[in-house]
Symmetry: C2
């Protein structure tokens, strides 16, 4: 069984008979490049199911997708979702779509369509899956690709709200995932660990869009943490040194590290450790960047060492 998504935003043409839509390309681009991404929320969905709260995962998948294409300098155009469950639960779908809508509106992205698939026998009980597809646009000569990053450039970090959408397998193993485990309020926290774990993925579009012309490269810290995501943004012949202690690691990471006795290097390979996006800039632009983004911190620098390594000191 399939349901068309009811939410359409202005700018979207008509409503065809399938679960997508038509979107007129905005004018003013000389060589428009479309940037697209597909992703899922992963096992953060399990936390949402136990907590019975489903709007934040809707925000997660949109914000994650927006941040992914932002690493190329792209502005979001439209988004489609795929929701699959065993038996249609309209209230649950409405909650998810509420989160999708909120996050799309925040960045001016059309929620152009989506599909809700009812697949008994594949999804059990209250289980469901949620994936998202985004398309954005960037002028060809404004693509952010990291090619001009050179030794001496600064690495800025923008704060995350928590785990975002990665590391939930390890987090669930360490913290548990029963209603009792997730309702626990640990010392130093003002809410349950379940609520802490559901904090929505931060969207960096509005923060970075105004300063994008001074950005040389971006790394969205998702699955694989600092270790896997930063090298993909670097050109040959350089590496990056990250100076821990230049930002406050949120308590949830310290809790997982301590309870699970996780090695520090493993923490940086699995989690964002409080930094959701790293921004590579020329040293001469650091002060204007920090003035425009007061939440940013200089967390490291680009070094002349070959091999696109990430050294965490």
């Amino acid at each position: 069984m399939k349901l068309a998504r009811a939410t359409f935003t202005p700018g979207v043409l008509g409503g065809p008979g399938f679960f997508g839509g038509m979107f007129e390309l905005p004018g003013g681009y000389l060589k428009p490049v479309l940037v697209s991404s597909c992703d899922g929320v992963g096992t953060k969905l399990k936390i949402a199911s136990v907590m019975g709260k489903h709007d934040t995962v809707g925000m997660d998948i949109v914000n994650h997708s927006v941040d992914d294409i932002l690493t190329c300098g792209a502005a979001p155009l439209f988004f489609l979702d795929y929701i699959a469950m065993g038996k249609l639960d309209s209230a649950l779908v409405a909650d998810i779509v509420k989160g999708l809508s909120t996050a799309c509106q925040e960045v001016g992205c059309a929620l152009i369509g989506g599909e809700t698939a009812e697949m008994p026998g594949l999804y059990h009980g209250k289980d469901y899956d949620l994936a998202g597809f985004i398309v954005g646009i960037v002028e060809k000569d404004r693509i952010v690709n990291g090619l001009t990053i050179k030794p001496g450039d600064a690495v800025l970090g923008l704060p995350s709200s928590g785990l975002h959408t990665n590391g939930y397998s390890l987090a669930r193993r360490v913290l548990g995932e029963t209603p009792e485990a997730l309702s626990k309020v640990y010392p130093g926290f003002d809410r349950s660990i379940g609520e802490v774990l559901l904090a929505p993925h931060v969207s960096y579009f509005k923060t970075l869009q105004p300063v994008m012309s001074d950005v040389k490269g971006l790394a969205h810290i998702t699955g694989g943490g600092f270790t896997d995501n930063i090298p993909r943004s670097l050109p040959e012949g350089v590496s990056v040194r990250i100076n821990t202690g230049t930002w406050d690691v949120p308590p949830v990471f310290e809790l997982i590290q301590s309870l699970g006795q996780v090695a520090p290097e493993e923490m940086f390979r699995v989690f964002n450790m409080g930094i959701g996006m790293t921004v590579f800039v020329d040293p001469s632009h650091v002060s204007t960047m920090l003035a425009a983004m007061p939440q940013a911190r200089v967390i490291g620098e680009v070094t002349a060492e070959a091999g696109r390594k990430v050294e965490i000191v």
Copy 2:
């Protein structure tokens, strides 16, 4: 766990650090409109799992998506897939991606990215889900929208290869879904019913693209059969009469109808009954259309009855 899709086609720019890609918009469009769709394969996946054959569902999701946006007159640009399973099975993923690639290449669509999500606890045993997302393009004044359809217009039908991607819940209930049930070769068939059920969704792009300027409207016969899909393509004030007997209903539908004692109207509401796409054309264009598409049949006509009804006689 996430895996980047390895297959990129020429025309795609670079490979960013996320599971999507960059696609430079083709030139020559005055007012380019992007047409997108998101869909899943549904419980046809269950048949694929039992049969241990996974390339055809890859073709299914691409062809289904291509046909969806084709109903607006759009040509495919690029496709992304979402594959989710409990534990990564590389051979299974390779089979699916082989099908995706084959179908994309067939219509010149870039397989630009995708995600493989490993979600233990959500997907059990060999279960997996597969969804797809397509973006195509059409010049704004060439959008096919059915608005000029009028009484007396002809309804052409293009043959399907079988169930395509809809009606599998009913088919599985009637035919069974054990290995024994699916390996059965029914009288009059030259292969097992499992193989018959896995026949890939037909892509109509190459057939319809050359004659698109004479097409007034299109209905892709998917979930909801004739009954739900045709009305969405019609303007106010008309209806459609379909003349059964003008085409050969494939034996698989007769088998399901007979074994399941399914009422004829239910068959037309659930299945495509051998017609995967209906094409609305002016009567003066019928002979040239049939010459260009020898596999097409005139299966009905547009009537002056209000209500966008579908009468099957």
